[in-house]
Structure formats: structure tokens, C-alpha cells
Amino acid sequence: MTYENPRIPEGINVARESVPAEFLRLLAGLLLVVVVAALVLHLAGGWLARQVPFALERSWVGERLLVPPGIGTDAADAQAQERVQALARELAAGMGLPQGMTVDVHLVREEVPNAFATLGGHVLVTDGLYRRLPSENALAMVLAHELAHIRARDPIAAAGGGAALTLLMLALGGDAEALAPQLARLVQLGYSRQAEARADEAAIAALLGHYGHAGGAAGLFEALADYDGAGRELPALLATHPADAARIARLQQAARGWDATRQPLVALPAL
């Protein structure tokens, strides 16, 4: 009867497989799943949100202007506000908004040029933007674009999609939390470009209906091209309203065949 302790070989309880290789594989898989899930949820959330009747959305929001932080909401010149609202009404009449969908356009005192549609049928235009518009046609383009967003229920769809994505991020929890929001944000940006393109098309159609031509539609972007104020202000607008060359080209294409002398642009009264 002997007592001994022979040496036990390595590698039985510890795998030889490389941990980084497995990690990279899993990471790639996780990223793929997150991107697909983000896309699906965003679409689902958007679709569900659009089922909410506009009347309900309107009654929830009331008269509040739900805007991102940092944007002023004080009303600007009352007369100008009236004119802008009147133009918006004329455009809306020609755009076939559904029964009961009322849109309020607010001209607010804010230096940073911006314009967007938010929940409850409210459209916000800053006087910083108004001052840079070269013609009434350019203003009509902006208004028609935002009206198209309201008509398509884009604001509530974006809210619904955002909520769905937040749920996904919560469900993932753990360490995936650090990675998922970045990808989700990328998905969101891509999707809203589609909505922007659709709104552009609808706006051009509205312009054609109202003025008989789409001249001056690209006026806003041409004016902003000269704007080189503090660099940080412009990106805020461009983040959700991309002024990429393709978009400007589309707008200028729509104005093909327009003769400036026979169909002059309408002047925009100064504030």
C-alpha cells in the first residue's frame, strides 16, 4: 500500500480555447441581434403610435409646446405670427389634412434658426429662421414640410419608436446597456431620413398646388449656406433636417422649368 501524489496534467479543468476569439464572435452576434431588434421595435412602436387617434393626441398635449430643452418658446411678433398661421392654413387646405386635424404654427423668439413639428399638431418656427428666409416661397416650403410631418403622424410615431427602443435597452440590461443605445440612435437617424424625404415630396406637391411652381424651395438651404455663425448652432438644425447635397439637388430639380421672370417669388415681409 503506497501513498503518492503523481503530477496531474494541465488542461482538464481549463479550456484551451482562446477567450478573445469567443468574445469577438459573441459581440458580433449581439450587435447583430440588437440592430435587428432595434429596427423591428422602432417600426412596431411607430406603427402602434400612429393608431392613436389625432384627437386623443391633441387632447393629451393641449396647448403645451413639447420641444427639446434649450429652445425658447416665447411668442414673437403677433402680426407676423398671424401671417405665418394664415399661410399655413392655406397650405393645409391644399394638402388634404384629415378631418379634425388642426395645426397651430407658433413663431417664437429664438436666435437659432429652427423649425419642427411636435406632438399635438404644433409646429414651431423660430424668428431666427424667419429672418433668413429669402422669400415667402421658402417659408411655404418649410411650413408645408412640417405640415406633411403632422399629416403623416411622424411626431407621435417617433415618440412611440423611441419608447419601444428604451424598453429594449432596459430588457437587455447588464453590460449590453453600454452598446445598445449607440446602435439604436443610428437606427433612429436612418429612419427619420426616410420620413424627411417623404415630407419633402409632400411639401413640393403643396408648393406646386399653391404657387403653380416649386421655385425657391431650396431657398432655406441656400440662405443657410451663407450662415457661418457659431458652428454649434447649425448642427442642431441639421441633425434632424439634413441639408445634404442630395436633398438640395432634389429640391432644385423640382424647380426645373420654373421661370423667375414669369413667376416671381413672393416677398416675405420683414419682422
Binding site: 500500500m1 503506497t2 501513498y3 503518492e4 501524489n5 503523481p6 496531474i8 482538464i12 479543468n13
Partner: protein
């Protein structure tokens, strides 16, 4: 390979004592089962997914212990014990250890 938690195999004598051998494994159930188990916690009852997890782990741990015993030339493992510990949520480590012997 005989595996027992007795001191020795009945009717046989131990010729050589070859020392401690151990097998251990760390396993996790996938996230889906984890969430289901969490829901099961509300209702109560056996968490089948975790039972399965630990059964698989135990089998693997014993297999590795036997592998070590074979590597040192034993034909039996006596005085086997188990040790389980919880690693993070949903993952468990199971260890089996015993003394490798040669029985004659």
C-alpha cells in the same frame, strides 16, 4: 472507473493511493431561461431549467475528475465530494473531488 463516496470499494483493497483529483465546471443557462425562471419565482415550484443546468454541470465535473484520475493511472476514485457555488446570476460552478486509488 469506480466512483464512490465510501472510504473504499467493498471487498477490494486499495493498493496505491494516488492523491487528490478534482473536476470542475462553470456553466450558465441562456438569458431566456433566466427570465422564465424569474417568472417562476412568483409562482413557486421546481426551476427545471436550473435543475438541468446543475445536473449537466455535475456530470461534466465528475467526468473531468475521472479524466484526472485516469491521467495518474488510477482505476477508482473514493471519498468523492461535491461543492457548488453560485457565480453571478444564472451561472453556477460545480466541483467534484476525491482521491484517486488503484484497487486490487
Amino acid at each position: 472507473m469506480e466512483v464512490t463516496n465510501l472510504e473504499s470499494i467493498p471487498g477490494k483493497t486499495i493498493v496505491r493511493h494516488l492523491g487528490l483529483v478534482q473536476g470542475s465546471t462553470v456553466r450558465a443557462k441562456h438569458a431566456g431561461r433566466d427570465i422564465l425562471a424569474g417568472l417562476k419565482n412568483i409562482v413557486g415550484g421546481e426551476l427545471k431549467a436550473y435543475t438541468e443546468l446543475l445536473v449537466e454541470s455535475r456530470k461534466e465535473a465528475v467526468a473531468r475528475m475521472v479524466q484526472q484520475a485516469e491521467a495518474v493511472g488510477a482505476n477508482a476514485v473514493v471519498n468523492v465530494r461535491f461543492s457548488t457555488s453560485n457565480i453571478a446570476s444564472g451561472a453556477a460552478e460545480v466541483m467534484a473531488y476525491g482521491t484517486a486509488v488503484v484497487i486490487g
